[in-house]
């Protein structure tokens, strides 16, 4: 019987001095204790442990029982008497055992758990771990840091609940667990705060650094991945709560402001080696981006934020973070990046941002990142928001800034839709310059001409794929039409009349040729398809197309014909606008000639 075996070893040890316990005693005790637990004699084991006479034995050997104990507690159902007993045993062990060994025992348990067991195990052991850590005399800061790092490392592989339903369900217990970890850390935060009021001791710095590491880690996981918008129907959003707590800790240990303004303060460095410093900076980039999001979008901790910073400076500070976030592909991070960008831009007045800011590399990179999201991201609302942000960003710049941005985006975005959009924006700016009283040198005259050079041409001459570039071509034609209608040759404010010959050579002529070729090609194709209709229906498809792992059905001849016809329709549309533009040019040129005669 397990209980008898246990009694035997206990009785033998009761008469021994602490220093006389041998290795084999530890083994016997562990084996017997474990057996008691496995066979369901938790109540008896509890009695042994509670026995005053066994105090010394438990103090030395008790920690060996942690592992089987945890296993049992997690295996029993709640409300089970046996679980109740096991919990009491755990409680006793925490009171009685040597803190050093117990600490290692507890940590080992957390380290060994995985998958679904992680959160229950951590939740179970947080309280005991906290008690033990508070008792530790030496290496406390190190041990607290180790515990927090271990816990966070174990949590990190778990998926973060994202939708409202997932959050409410909290299947793996992550939401509850995170908030429990914060509670676990609180006494140590208080200790740092108390010591900071007194003096700045060296030891204290260590504990503070450990807590800082924990906060940075938490910002990266789970917060960066989490959905942090307020959700209807959830009173206490677990991750919002967690975020508030983390920010509070940072504020309490007075690290919040230094972190937010990290890059301009030339922060003290812990590493002599440049390489380590770079790694640290890279690692913290995500965390800092999340912190900025929390402060400026969710307004956590904003109360202690100085309100006297200028909006353009805040934008400048946040640009790095926005860039970090927009370079990710996960919905959670992209949407955080877009929200952060929006909140910074909304602080600014239109036309107030100097073009000189474009000398910062991130100010040029971010709009290009937006284009990437707009054209490549599979999530529709993010694509739409990116477009809105690009619009907002353009709005904030002065004329020269807008001009530079347009140039940059025309050159860098290899997407006809985006280029078409930019060309439309250029038209809007020209319109403003022509109609407003105050003159605007960037969208008239020689500056505009050099911009038009980038717009009014076909990228590959007559061989350009007109269908793929149709958005761009239509926008260009519209712009040209606007220019010849709005700007008389006698005024020539925009300079379009000066470069007319060039436009004809680089744009209108090749467009004519291209249209003729394309139309002929597509018409021939249609004819071909119609003639071979019967045959084509029989033949096997040569290749198949998969979109996001779903095989697309093969196109029927009817569908193919439809596509070909719609292409022809596009060509017709282009041709009609082209004809209109040429007609307008001819009329105006003739009118001028008539006047001159």
């Amino acid at each position: 019987m397990a209980v008898d075996e246990l009694q035997a070893i206990i009785q033998r040890c009761q008469i021994l001095e602490e220093s006389d316990f041998r290795g084999e005693d530890f083994n016997l005790f562990q084996v017997a204790g474990q057996k008691c637990l496995e066979d369901g004699y938790a109540a008896q084991l509890l009695e042994v442990i509670q026995n005053e006479k066994n105090k010394v034995i438990i103090k030395n050997m008790g920690w060996n029982l942690i592992s089987p104990l945890v296993r049992c507690i997690l295996a029993y159902k709640q409300e089970d008497d046996k679980q109740e007993h096991c919990l009491k045993i755990l409680d006793q062990l925490v009171q009685l055992c040597n803190p050093k060994e117990l600490f290692l025992g507890l940590l080992e348990q957390i380290e060994q758990t995985s998958g679904e067991q992680v959160c229950p195990t951590v939740m179970l052991l947080l309280q005991p771990l906290q008690t033990v850590l508070l008792k530790l005399q030496n290496k406390k800061a190190y041990s607290v840091g180790l515990s927090l790092a271990m816990i966070m490392n174990q949590l990190t592989p778990l998926p973060v609940p994202y939708t409202k339903q997932q959050i409410q369900e909290d299947k793996l217990g992550l939401c509850r667990c995170c908030n429990a970890v914060v509670d676990f850390a609180k006494p140590f935060v208080n200790e740092v705060v108390k010591n900071m009021e007194k003096s700045s001791e060296y030891n204290n710095m260590e504990l503070k650094e450990e807590l800082l590491k924990f906060c940075m880690k938490s910002l990266k996981y789970p917060l960066l991945t989490a959905q942090l918008e307020q959700l209807e129907g959830i009173e206490e959003h677990p991750f919002r709560h967690f975020a508030t707590e983390i920010i509070d800790i940072l504020q309490d240990i007075r690290e919040l402001m230094p972190l937010v303004f990290l890059h301009h303060k030339g922060r003290r460095s812990y590493w002599e080696n440049q390489e380590f410093e770079d790694i640290e900076r890279k690692n913290s980039a995500d965390s800092l981006a999340c912190l900025s999001y929390l402060m400026f979008v969710q307004h956590f901790g904003i109360n202690c934020f100085p309100m006297v910073f200028s909006p353009s400076y805040l934008l400048q500070c946040n640009m790095t973070h926005i860039e970090v976030l927009l370079n990710r592909t996960e919905e959670s991070m992209l949407s955080k990046g877009l929200d952060l960008f929006e909140s910074c831009l909304l602080r600014m007045e239109d036309n107030s941002l100097s073009h000189q800011y474009l000398e910062f590399r991130d100010f040029i990179n971010v709009p290009q990142d937006l284009v990437k999201v707009m054209t490549l991201c599979p999530i529709e609302h993010l694509r739409k928001k990116s477009l809105n942000m690009l619009q907002l960003f353009i709005d904030k710049f002065d004329a020269e800034g807008k001009y530079t941005l347009f140039r940059c985006l025309l050159k860098t975005s290899n997407h006809a839709g985006v280029q078409g959009y930019i060309i439309q924006k250029i038209k809007d700016q020209i319109h403003l310059s022509l109609t407003k009283a105050h003159d605007n040198i960037w969208f008239t005259g020689h500056h505009l001409i050099s911009l038009l050079d980038l717009v009014l041409f076909l990228p590959e001459g007559a061989e350009t794929d007109l269908l793929q570039n149709s958005d761009r071509i239509m926008a260009s034609l519209n712009l040209l039409r606007y220019l010849v209608i709005k700007d008389c040759e006698s005024d020539n404010q925009t300079g379009v009349w000066t470069i007319l010959a060039k436009i004809e050579k680089n744009f209108l002529k090749p467009l004519h040729v291209g249209l003729n070729m394309s139309k002929a090609h597509y018409e021939a194709e249609i004819k071909n398809k119609k003639e071979n209709r019967r045959e084509a229906n029989k033949s096997n498809t040569v290749c198949s197309l998969t979109v996001s792992e779903e095989k697309m059905p093969a196109m029927t001849t009817e569908m193919q014909l439809q596509v070909l016809h719609s292409a022809l329709f596009t060509f017709d549309l282009i041709e009609s606008v082209l004809a209109r533009v040429e007609e307008l040019i001819e009329v105006k040129v003739k009118a001028v000639m008539a006047e001159n005669i």
Partner: protein
């Protein structure tokens, strides 16, 4: 802390008084920022652009509602003056203050948060402020200028900058950029240099310009006019400058105007061919500086080769050979420079990299030996010199260095013995004292076991 109720009338009174008596301090004279001095400063000096400024402040809306105060945060607010970091009213207002001064500033929205406001505390002026009693003056700031100091460019106290006139834009010359500057150099109150000069950043020495100016230029903007206070390390150093009659380790003051500059290409803007061509040129330049004993400048030149070629990939066989030979030379020469500059760790690093390219390189091994010898790592140094002899048994210098190592090891051991002998007697005495209270050593032991356990737990 006063409540909103209590400050409300006060706020309105202040706003009215300011509007009436405040001095317009805007350059445009549009009454956008009005100032009243509450307590004059005790010093006649005002902060300059770029200075690190320490202030305490309290901000209120015109209706008296406090929106922000540095006192609540228990620490002064720090910012760089005149760089657009703060609302315009502040950059203008604080620049007029003297140390110790307390003043009130009344700011129009254009000089504060504008029509957009600043969520969540400052609403947009459109929604709220037109209802306030003084709609055009929504913000009152009480500011106390605690302290200010020049900008410490490299956080080491070596170069302090104070800007007299702000430059344009945000781009700076980089290393290798061509700059046109006007400079005046002072030492101990006398002017020793005054000229207009065009040169390449990193090569100022060719024009008797100390390295600190090169470094500072990389942080300046077009049109900027500033005063630079250089410590000896960034000045003419130990050698001084006999040409100007400057002694060793003199502190220098320069007034510099950056008239224009053209940036050098960044590494990513150059193709391999260009990099290899340029590498040959800068290698020559580096060697020239080295021969003249200008090691800091030589480091810049050799460093360029490393930054261009170290990470270059996709080279043809021929290019790769050329690149490796440039890199090897650069690392070996850098090692030599660092030896001269007494930066031995860096010297060892460079030798390691050189030996990574050519593991039997005689110079690499020898220089690493030298560096290690100077770092008192005699055994390692000896190994290096022995390897030199394996590569080239004729190397007499290495042979004599080995005997130096042996001699030094011996001396060192003896010195250690003397020191430790002393220490051990002291320890013994202390132990005797502590044995009674039985703490120190035991605790150490405990710590050691705890640490051991933790490491295994972490690794297991």
């Amino acid at each position: 802390m006063t409540t909103d109720e209590a400050t409300k009338p006060e706020g309105e009174v202040q706003a009215a008084a300011l509007a009436e008596r405040g001095e317009d301090i805007t350059p445009a004279q549009d009454r956008g920022v009005l100032k009243i001095i509450k307590r004059p400063g005790n010093d006649d000096e005002s902060p300059m652009i770029g200075d690190k400024v320490y202030v305490h402040y309290k901000g209120k809306l015109a209706n008296g509602k406090k929106f922000d105060s540095s006192r609540d945060r228990n620490e002064p607010f720090v910012f760089s003056l005149g760089k657009g970091q703060v609302i315009k009213a502040w950059d203008i207002g604080v620049a007029t203050m003297k140390k110790g001064e307390v003043c009130y500033l009344l700011c129009k929205p254009e000089y504060a948060y504008g029509a957009a406001g600043s969520a969540p505390k400052i609403p947009s002026n459109a929604t709220l402020f037109f209802e306030a009693t003084l709609p055009t003056f929504p913000l009152i700031l009480q500011v106390e200028l605690l302290d200010f100091k020049g900008e410490d460019l490299f956080e080491d106290g070596g170069i302090i900058r104070r800007i007299k006139r702000k430059g344009e834009g945000y781009s700076n010359p980089n290393e290798g950029a061509t700059v046109e500057i006007h400079l005046e150099g002072f030492c101990g109150g006398t002017r020793f240099d005054c000229k207009d000069v065009k040169f390449v950043v990193g090569e100022g020495e060719d024009h008797d310009i100390p390295i600190g100016i090169d470094k500072a230029l990389e942080k300046m903007q077009r049109g900027e006019h500033c005063v630079l206070y250089l410590g000896p390390r960034y000045g003419f150093g130990e050698a001084g400058k006999p040409k100007y009659g400057i002694q060793a380790n003199a502190e220098l003051v320069y007034e510099v105007t950056l008239k224009s500059f053209e940036k050098a290409k960044e590494s990513w803007e150059m193709d391999t061919k260009e990099k290899l061509e340029q590498a040959a040129i800068v290698k020559e330049k580096g060697t020239m500086y080295f021969k003249e004993g200008k090691y800091l400048q030589a480091v810049i030149q050799y460093g360029k080769i490393v930054s261009w070629l170290e990470m270059e990939y996709g080279l043809s066989e021929k290019e790769s050979k050329a690149s490796d030979s440039f890199l090897l030379a650069a690392f070996l020469n850098l090692a030599m420079c660092y030896l001269k500059l007494r930066e031995y760790t860096k010297a060892v690093e460079c030798c390691d990299k050189a030996l990574g390219l050519d593991q039997d390189n005689e110079k690499g091994l020898y220089r690493r030996g030298e560096a290690r010898l100077l770092m008192n790592e005699f055994e390692l140094a000896k190994c290096d010199f022995q390897k030199v002899l394996e590569v080239n048994p004729q190397n007499k210098a290495a042979r004599s260095q080995i005997s130096v190592c042996q001699k030094k090891t011996k001396e060192h051991n003896e010195r250690d013995r003397r020191i430790y002998a002393n220490m051990f007697t002291k320890f013994a005495e202390r132990d005797a004292k502590e044995a009674a209270s039985k703490t120190g050593v035991e605790k150490e032991a405990e710590k050691a076991t705890c640490a051991q356990g933790l490491e295994t737990a972490g690794a297991g």
